[in-house]
Structure formats: structure tokens, C-alpha cells
Symmetry: C2
């Protein structure tokens, strides 16, 4: 059966199943509207560690361990781990992978990594290589903000377009058999650059990539937004997701309520002082591997298009006069095999 559909979309004939999933978040995230969809809410976001980076590894380990536990699986039931995070050299992930002692492929797709890891995991499972693969990502407010922007102690004022890097991790186990939801299609992202140079406006940097990948997905599959109960980006925030709506409006397409964004869903934007909403590859990971998959299993959603959006933002490149390109990978999950 031909797996490539159109230019950059793939069909997974065996429809790899979400065998299990879990998430772990920090205190602020646990105070938000999705509180009851989190497996762990850690009020000590340092996780008893000496550094924030080590804490981030603990979040990732907690999410992966919980996904195994919820699925009644031992670590040895996994063929490999596909994971990444936002830190230089992806150390949140590297030290978590060391603790798990699993065959490991490291990924870097900025905030698109949850979608990237799921799609590659799906290809390894559908391709007959692996029986079960874990896909995971994490981010941490305290590790990301100081690496990408300013030292936390500096207390820099946040601009209205800023998003709040979420302290969280999410993990999904994809397998050849399981109760679902099922990964049915994926559209691979292309690096897209509309020349944004503001490190505090990542939503605008990523929105063009989301628009571009969604367009490609609809063109390749012949589907329309109405074919999905939920199209969810992660994480454009309020401004970036409004830009996506506006870009589609110009094409005569109204995305309406079926389109949402993980960064907007995770926080109460009026109450939690997060400006444009959440970001960080732990954000979409925690929302997908909780709120969204929960709603799918409860049959409140049947067809979801999960669009991981990453800003390939580098402080060094920005300082050298470069712009921030974005990338977006889309993964379609259905409650039935298709």
C-alpha cells in the first residue's frame, strides 16, 4: 500500500495505537484550567534537585514512568525512546535517557518536537521495526527563559506578545496494538521563515509554518477543516493562533471553534499573567497527553489534527542578524483505524 499521500503527507496503513500516555506539570500549570487532566502536579518545580536543568530531567522521567505505569508496562517493553527538549544539547532528555537505559534517538525540533517524535515513532512502528516506542518532550520555565532570553533574577518585564514557557513533560507510547486513538496520517514540516526577529514574539514566528503545513495537509489529503473535530496547534499562543485564523480567512476559510491552541488551553490567560499563553515543547506534550487524548478516549473527540509548531530560535543566530524560522509537523489521530 502506498504510504506517501501528495507531496509531504504520509498514511500509516497499520494505524499505530496510542498504547498509553501521561504528563507531569509544575505548580503554575497545575493552577490552570486543565488541572484535572494532569497525572502529576509538582509544586516543587525544582523537584528536589540542585539545578533547574536536573529538575527538567526529573519531569521527563516522571512523565515516561507514568505512561509506562498507566499502560501496565515495564521499561523493557519499549523498543526505543524518541525524545527531545529545548535545552542546548537537549540535556533534559539526555540525562533522562541515561536513567532509562533505553535505545535512544535524540531529536531537536524546538516546540514541534512532540509531533516530530510521534510521527517518527509511528513510522518505526508501522514500518515493522518496533513493537512499542515512547515519544516524549519536556520544557521548564526556569531553564528556557534564562537560556533563550534573560536571567530570571534580572526580572525583565515581559512584552505583551511574550508567551510563558511551560514547566511540563508529556510522553506517549505508540504501539502495534492498543486501544487507541490511532495515528493515521502525518504531514512533515518545512522550515518556513517570514522574517520575524523578536525573541518575544515566537507565536508570529511559528504561525506561518502552521498555516503552511495545514495547507499542505488539506491539499495532500483532500480534507477540509470540517473533517476534524479539533485542529490544535502547539504552541502559538493567543497572537500566533489569531494569525493562523487570519491567514486562513484570507483564503476564505473560517477555522472557527474547531481550531484551538495548546498554549491558550493550558493557562487562564485573564488570570494567570502569562500574556499570550503557554509555550515550550512541554506545553503541547502535556495538553496532548492528557486533555486531548482523554477527550478522545471519552469519545468527545473522534478526529484530531495535532500540529506541533517550533520556533527555530537561537540567541546566537538572532545576534548575528538572522530571523527566527518556524516549522510545523501535523499528526492526525482518529478514534478508529483509517
Amino acid at each position: 500500500m502506498k504510504k506517501k499521500v501528495g507531496k509531504r503527507t504520509y498514511h500509516f496503513p497499520s494505524c499505530p495505537a496510542v498504547v498509553s500516555y501521561a504528563n507531569a506539570v509544575g505548580k503554575k500549570e497545575g493552577d490552570g484550567p486543565l488541572a484535572d487532566t494532569f497525572d502529576h502536579i509538582f509544586t516543587d518545580t525544582r523537584m528536589g534537585q540542585k539545578t533547574w536543568e536536573k529538575a527538567e530531567s526529573e519531569f521527563q522521567k516522571a512523565a515516561i514512568s507514568k505512561a509506562l505505569e498507566k499502560g501496565g508496562l515495564e521499561v523493557s517493553a519499549l523498543d526505543c525512546l524518541l525524545a527531545g527538549d529545548l535545552l542546548n544539547q537537549c540535556i533534559g532528555t539526555a540525562y533522562a535517557a541515561r536513567a532509562l537505559a533505553l535505545p535512544f534517538f535524540g531529536l531537536y525540533g524546538a516546540c514541534s518536537t512532540m509531533a516530530e517524535s510521534l510521527i517518527l515513532a509511528g513510522m518505526l512502528v508501522d514500518g515493522g521495526f518496533c513493537e512499542r516506542v515512547c515519544a516524549a518532550t519536556s520544557s521548564h520555565f526556569c531553564t528556557a527563559e534564562r537560556q533563550y532570553r534573560t536571567p530570571l533574577e534580572y526580572g525583565s518585564q515581559r512584552t505583551p506578545t511574550a508567551q510563558w514557557t511551560v514547566t511540563a513533560s508529556g510522553a506517549a507510547i505508540l504501539g502495534q496494538t492498543g486501544t487507541g486513538p490511532y495515528l493515521t496520517h502525518a504531514t512533515i514540516g518545512v522550515v518556513t521563515d517570514w522574517k520575524i526577529t523578536d525573541a518575544n514574539n515566537m507565536g508570529a514566528a511559528m504561525a506561518p509554518a502552521a498555516y503552511e503545513t495545514l495547507q499542505a495537509h488539506f491539499e495532500d489529503t483532500g480534507r477540509t477543516p470540517e473533517d476534524y473535530d479539533l485542529i490544535v496547534t502547539g504552541d502559538l499562543g493567543k497572537l500566533g493562533s489569531e494569525l493562523v485564523r487570519e491567514l486562513f480567512r484570507r483564503d476564505g476559510i473560517e477555522l472557527g471553534k474547531r481550531y484551538q491552541d495548546c498554549g491558550v488551553l493550558l493557562f487562564d490567560l485573564d488570570r494567570q499573567d502569562v500574556h499570550c499563553g503557554g509555550s515550550g515543547c512541554g506545553c503541547s506534550a502535556a495538553v496532548l497527553n492528557g486533555y486531548i487524548f482523554n477527550r478522545m478516549r471519552a469519545k468527545q473527540l473522534e478526529r484530531v489534527l495535532f500540529c506541533g509548531t517550533g520556533a527555530l530560535h537561537s540567541p546566537v543566530a538572532l545576534g548575528q542578524g538572522e530571523s527566527v524560522p518556524g516549522i510545523c509537523h501535523a499528526a492526525a489521530f482518529f478514534n478508529y483505524k483509517e
Copy 2:
């Protein structure tokens, strides 16, 4: 056909073919013993750019473009690009991917990335998803040394155990059909940590991972070192590769001349003042996608085990008292399908 062999080795039943390959190196690399195996030797290692980081992107673009040209292929013949580098946020790769406008999966496996990208590319091709995939990596002395160690202008004295980050890129195009060599097996790496904390001794940090993955490969496949004409690590350098020999000697196995290291092959260690040899994910990429594949196509080598070795070294983690774990992925290339 069962694709998993033993604990963490995979067989590729269709044996994805090396359709084309190319490399691009800097002046110092071009002065070394492998000079006649390089497609491009750029004496201006800044590639006419304003910054070294932008230059690294140019190296990667040059290697990928040359691989396409040598294969008589347009960019549109590729289904996707799997690539990475050593820079924070992998910007050498991100901006190269932007220029190519290809569906793109970003990887981070430190110096193991060439092997990681080839193995995942092989799984995408063998799994029936992609017809042709490009796997590529790059490194640059001037971008890596200042990011991982000290500013170049500081002129820090190099310790005897130090390796020289190679300025180079290599790219391979794997496809469903082609003249070969063929990817037949791969063993996926596990993060291995023998508690090395010296940022100037990466060979020692990676050697245990190479030993561990080679052991797993032999155990999973039932093969012995004698089943290969060449077992090549990339890049442990002189010290690290001696450690691997010694570890196997303790098991009663003499690796002998069939075992070599890309970091030792690329430079003349006596003449070129590189201490323990080359490193950086461009090193093994340039040696594989030139010297090694050339020798395979010339039938001087029939069976090669390419072991990409990465030090998951982070200056931040080291500063926080962490050690440097290593990872090694092994990919077996044969001149015939098996």
C-alpha cells in the same frame, strides 16, 4: 519478515541503497591524508559569510547539493531531510534546511548524528514511507570550539587528550533502489556514562558507548569482528579508539587493523597538530561519505560497520557537576543485499 534482531539491532529486509553521497571540508582537512576523497575543499572556511555559524550552514548546503548532483537528482527527488549538527538549536542545519525547503526532521545526537540520521533514514525507506531520504551533518572548528570550550581569541593551550573539531559536512542519499552500498543492519545506542568530566577528553567519554554498542551488535547478530572488513568509529580519536581496543582485549578479542577511527583517519596526527585527532559530527560524515563509500564502491571493502559516537557534552551540565555521557549508533553497510 521480523526486523528486530536480538535486543536492539534491526535488519532492513529491503536493504536501502546509498544512492549518492558527498562531502565538503575546510583547508586544514584538505591538507590531510584523505584530501583526494573530498568533493569540496574550501580554503575560505568562512565561506564568504560574516559569521562562522552561517559558514557552517554553507558547508552543509554544499555537501547536500553535491550529493544531489553526483546522483543526478533534483532537490524534489528527496522526500525529506534528516539532519543535525553540534550547535545550540542546531542552527547550522536549521538554516541549511530553510534554504533547501525540504520536509525536515531535526536530530541531535552530538557526533553520533551521522549514524543516527542514516539509521532513521533507512527505517523511513525500508518502512515504505520514503523513496529517497537525505541524511546529513556538519561541524565547524570555529563554531564548536567557542561554544563548547573557550573563545578562539583566548588561544587556550590544548591538552594532549584534546581532539580537533573538524570543519566539514557529509551527506548521503538513501533510497529504495540504487547501486549501493546497502544498509543491512543497525544497532541503536543507549546512553552510556562512565563518569568522565573532562571537556577535553571526549574520546574517553565516548569509548564506553562504542564498546557497549559493538558488544550488543555482535551479541544480537551472532557476528564477530571478523565478519567485517572495517569497523570504524567516528570520532573517538587516538586515545578513545585505543580504549575501545583495550576494552575488547579484556574480553579476549583483538580488533586489530580492521578497526579504525574516522578522527584518526582524517588527519595526519604527527604532522597536523591535532593531538588525538578529529572530532565533530562533520568528521565521521566526511570520512564515511567519501573515503569509506569510495572504497566500498571500488570493492576494496565489502562489509563495513559504521559506528557514530557522540559525547552528550553540555558546558552547562558540566558546570553543574554532571559527567559527560556518550552514545553510539552502529550501521552496517554491505556491498550486497543481505
